[in-house]
């Protein structure tokens, strides 16, 4: 398995951008295993709202999170274009439900800006940095923070 956190020596990074809760996010491409169409999941009892359930990924049982709900941006509405991004961090594989996937973004390391000094500690934890693309701003998701336990609240 690739070590995703200690990135390569190259300064060029590739990200996949997607939207969730009407905001634009991205994940580094090496963290993403695959992108799947949404299929009904098996619900888990006694889990918070952002845990949608578990899905069968070729024999592995992976949990599916609603990224928007995870970030406190409301639940993702049912839509044909909804996709599940299967991502791996450490030894854990998870699925993230997002509204839609947009494009592959290839940027230089210098183009990634630090997360602006905002008040919310949780938000700073969840977002590694921001990339400005034309008019809009893309947030780089910290996958570890998505997995982390004290992240249940709103951003």
């Amino acid at each position: 398995m690739l070590d995703v956190v200690e990135a390569p020596t190259e300064t060029q990074f590739e990200f996949i951008t997607f939207s969730s809760g009407d905001q634009s996010f991205c994940l580094e491409i090496t963290q993403i295993r695959e992108i799947r169409r949404w299929t009904p999941v098996t619900k888990l009892p006694h889990t918070p709202d952002d845990v949608l359930g578990v899905m069968n990924l070729r024999g592995a049982v992976i949990p599916i999170f609603d990224l928007a709900a995870r970030f406190g941006l409301g639940t993702t509405a049912d839509n044909e274009r909804n996709v599940v991004i299967v991502a791996a961090a450490g030894g854990t594989t998870i699925g993230l439900l997002v509204e839609s996937v947009s494009e592959i973004l290839s940027v230089d390391k210098s183009a990634i800006q630090e997360t602006p000094d905002i008040k919310s500690e949780a938000a700073r934890q969840a977002i590694l940095g921001v990339i400005s693309v034309g008019e809009s701003m893309v947030r780089v998701v910290n996958l570890d923070a998505v997995l982390d336990n004290d992240m249940g609240g709103a951003v």
Partner: protein
């Protein structure tokens, strides 16, 4: 990198050798006269020493050397094995294991115990005659400094002459050995003369360059001990015909282990050695057979054929096996999917598909069983480790005890064995510490002063049973109850049955020892054992008879990967419940259902009232079945609540399911033990009845987020 992998191999081998050592030692306990066993022990120690030398693990080498030297004296019957020596050997074996472990992990071994044991071992050497002791020193120097000439005063030891007949087999050359190097090593010990016997050399036409046709006759004058000579031939002794005889009348050597007639039929005399004349008729006082070449006169030493050796095995990376198991699991799921799809097609019966499908199913099951068997290992090494625990525990408590193992060839999944080590250690310690009485008390009770701990394993009806039984005083139930009340674990006026009192032992924070002893009672109680066993899908139970001892029984599933389950529906979901936990299924009759209070429901089962737990409600999936007489009740026995009836929507199927962990990617979910993939590719949760009844629907499971996710990253 490559050095590391060689090193790893060495430590893997060490583990096997240590196992052989422990096994040999326990065999010695029964029959110390059996030279085959003594030799096996000696070889194990010697091989560890040899390997350790190659990696410059000096402490290990020197300890193994001392151990080996004492062992050698037993081998040569200088030292008589008694109970005390046997105990010392056991402790030395333990120490050797510790040293190996310390060397592997690169940490500092326990110097104190090492020094004590070394001293005791050396004491046994001290008993021997001067000559022996000297030769011991010489050997140790020899080993440390490699094949450098010894700078010991020659005059101390008497010079003797050895006749060596050395007939290599083709295998010796094939394995890359070079006789010249051996002769060089011998030459360093003293004056050596070598002559080649070309008697077997064929005509040039018939000459096969791969054959070994030259035999050697050597004569060595040295002050060295005979064992030193044997050490030189150590690595070729299975690949050649070797005879070493001492040509001296005043032989200070002890009687050797194997005495054979000196008349070697294949020996051809060549009149070329300077001392030949005087020695030829001189009856060699002893002809020593090299320890490990078991077949005496075999001309062609077959590839090392040890009567007690293990069967040939293959070393495979565990990860590969696991990958194979996973893939086979997929195959089973895939097979179920195909079956289901074909059924849905409703093909005409003439399609003959069912037979092939059935064959496919059986094949898939066969493969699965075969693959599972790869992971299965005998419990023997685990049990052997316990003998050390018993020894140490007895020593610490001043009790006398022995370990009896039964059924140690019983095979269990490797993971089970690994994860059982700690709980078993704890239970065995407990058995010695709390279970057995002091020797005086045992005598008073008319028992053998040596207590016995019986460890047994067996397969019974698809489960593995492991029993830890002691023949001690049995559980002191009044004291257990008193203690539990004192600790506030039960209310003082509670009326408990014997069974219930016994089960108090499994409560967290329970320890009967009033004083914290060295061994048990460190705050880790039987609840840890119980949790560990439950984590493996098993359960622990106790039975005890006053005066006759206590038996703990661990029941484990054969494998962790598959399970028989009922496919049930809960609310609108499909779930699986382990069949093993279900005692009975009941389709309830309205007249058998009764209410207690506003929400308590019970069902009368043959006169007894059993509480009903609505699974859907406990899982927070719905308000429960609307029609209380609907659904099916599954009667289960739980630890917390005794007999309980679980209400489920219905039972659809009974099948073997592949267990998929939820914890690896998510975390623990209360009431759910794992998940599985059904024939249609959907995931079904596997319920844990015990946990399920603990969930109280009245007070909804609080903080749902933190508890479930606590283990998320660490699961």
């Amino acid at each position: 990198m490559s050095t590391n992998s060689i090193r790893d191999t060495f430590f893997e081998e060490c583990e096997e050798l240590l196992e052989a050592l422990v096994e040999g030692l326990s065999a010695m306990e029964e029959n110390a006269e059996d030279m085959e066993v003594v030799n096996a022990v000696f070889r194990a120690v010697h091989s560890i020493k040899g390997g350790a030398g190659a990696f410059a693990l000096d402490r290990l080498v020197s300890f193994a050397h001392t151990f080996e030297t004492v062992m050698d004296k037993v081998r040569s019957q200088v030292l008589k094995v008694d109970e005390e020596l046997m105990l010392l050997f056991h402790r030395s074996g333990d120490q050797l294991a510790d040293l190996v472990e310390a060397a592997r992990d690169g940490r500092e071994p326990n110097a104190e115990s090492e020094a004590t044991i070394l001293k005791e071992l050396e004491a046994h050497l001290g008993d021997a005659d001067k000559e022996e002791e000297f030769s011991f020193d010489a050997m140790s120097l020899d080993f440390d400094a490699g094949p450098v000439a010894l700078d010991l005063p020659d005059e101390v030891a008497s010079v003797r002459r050895f006749d060596i007949r050395f007939n290599p087999t083709p295998a010796l050359y094939a394995n890359g050995h070079e006789p010249l190097l051996l002769f060089d090593a011998l030459a360093e010990l003293g004056a050596l003369s070598v002559s080649a016997d070309l008697g077997r050399l064929p005509e040039f036409d018939a000459f096969d360059p791969n054959d070994a046709v030259i035999d050697w006759q050597l004569s060595l004058e040295t002050a060295e001990d005979e064992t030193v000579l044997h050490e030189i031939f150590e690595f070729v002794d299975a690949l050649c015909d070797l005879e070493i005889s001492v040509c001296e009348d005043a032989d200070p050597q002890p009687a050797p282990a194997h005495i054979e007639s000196p008349a070697a039929p294949s020996l051809i005399d060549l009149p070329d050695m300077e001392d030949d004349g005087e020695d030829d008729d001189d009856p060699a006082p002893a002809l020593v057979q090299v320890a490990s070449s078991s077949k005496g006169g075999a001309k062609q030493a077959a590839p090392r054929d040890e009567p007690r050796g293990p069967r040939p095995t293959l070393r495979v990376d565990l990860e590969r096996v696991d990958r194979l198991i996973n893939t086979v699991g997929e195959l089973i799921i895939n097979q179920a999917m195909i079956s289901q799809r074909i059924e849905e097609l409703e093909l005409p019966a003439v399609a003959h598909l069912t037979n092939e499908l059935e064959a496919y199913k059986l094949l898939a099951r066969d493969i699965q069983e075969g693959v599972m068997a790869i992971r299965a290992q005998p419990v023997k090494p685990l049990f052997q480790r316990m003998s050390r625990i018993v020894r140490e525990a007895s020593e610490a408590t001043g009790k006398k005890s022995k370990l009896v193992t039964v059924g140690d060839s019983t095979e269990v999944d490797k993971t089970v064995i690994e994860r059982l080590a700690d709980p078993l250690t704890h239970m065995v310690r407990n058995a010695v510490d709390h279970g057995l009485e002091a020797p005086e008390k045992r005598l008073e009770a008319g028992k053998d002063p040596i207590g016995s701990i019986r460890l047994s394993a067996s397969h019974r009806s698809g489960s593995v049973f492991i029993e830890i039984a002691d023949d001690g005083a049995g559980l002191n139930r009044p004291r257990i109850l008193e203690k539990a009340v004192e600790k506030g674990l039960v209310s003082p006026d509670a009326e408990l049955s014997e069974q219930e009192i016994d089960n108090l032992l499994f409560l967290p924070g329970f320890s009967t020892a009033s004083e914290v002893s060295n061994l048990s009672g460190r705050g880790v109680g039987m609840d840890v054992v119980k949790n560990a066993v439950a984590g493996l899908g098993g359960r622990v139970s106790i039975s005890s008879a006053p005066g006759n001892g206590t038996t703990f029984t661990i029941v484990l599933p054969l494998t962790l990967a598959v399970m028989d389950g009922f496919v049930i529906s809960i609310s609108d979901q499909t779930m699986v419940i382990p069949i093993a936990s279900i005692i009975e299924t009941i389709r309830p009759n309205r007249k058998d259902l009764h209410y207690i209070g506003t929400s308590g429901e019970v069902i009368s089962v043959r006169g007894a009232y059993v509480p009903i737990v609505d699974v859907a409600r406990n899982l927070g999936l719905s308000a429960g079945e609307t029609d209380i007489s609907g659904g099916v009740l599954l009667l289960v026995s739980t630890e917390t609540q005794g007999l309980t009836a679980l209400r489920v929507g219905g039972i659809h199927d009974q099948r073997q399911v592949v267990i998929k962990s939820l914890e690896s990617n998510y975390g623990a979910i209360p009431g759910v033990s794992a998940a599985t993939i059904l024939g249609d590719g959907k995931i079904a949760l596997i319920l844990d009845p015990d946990e399920l009844v603990k969930l109280n629907p009245a007070a909804p499971f609080l903080p749902p987020a933190s508890s479930a996710r606590m283990e998320l990253r660490h699961a």
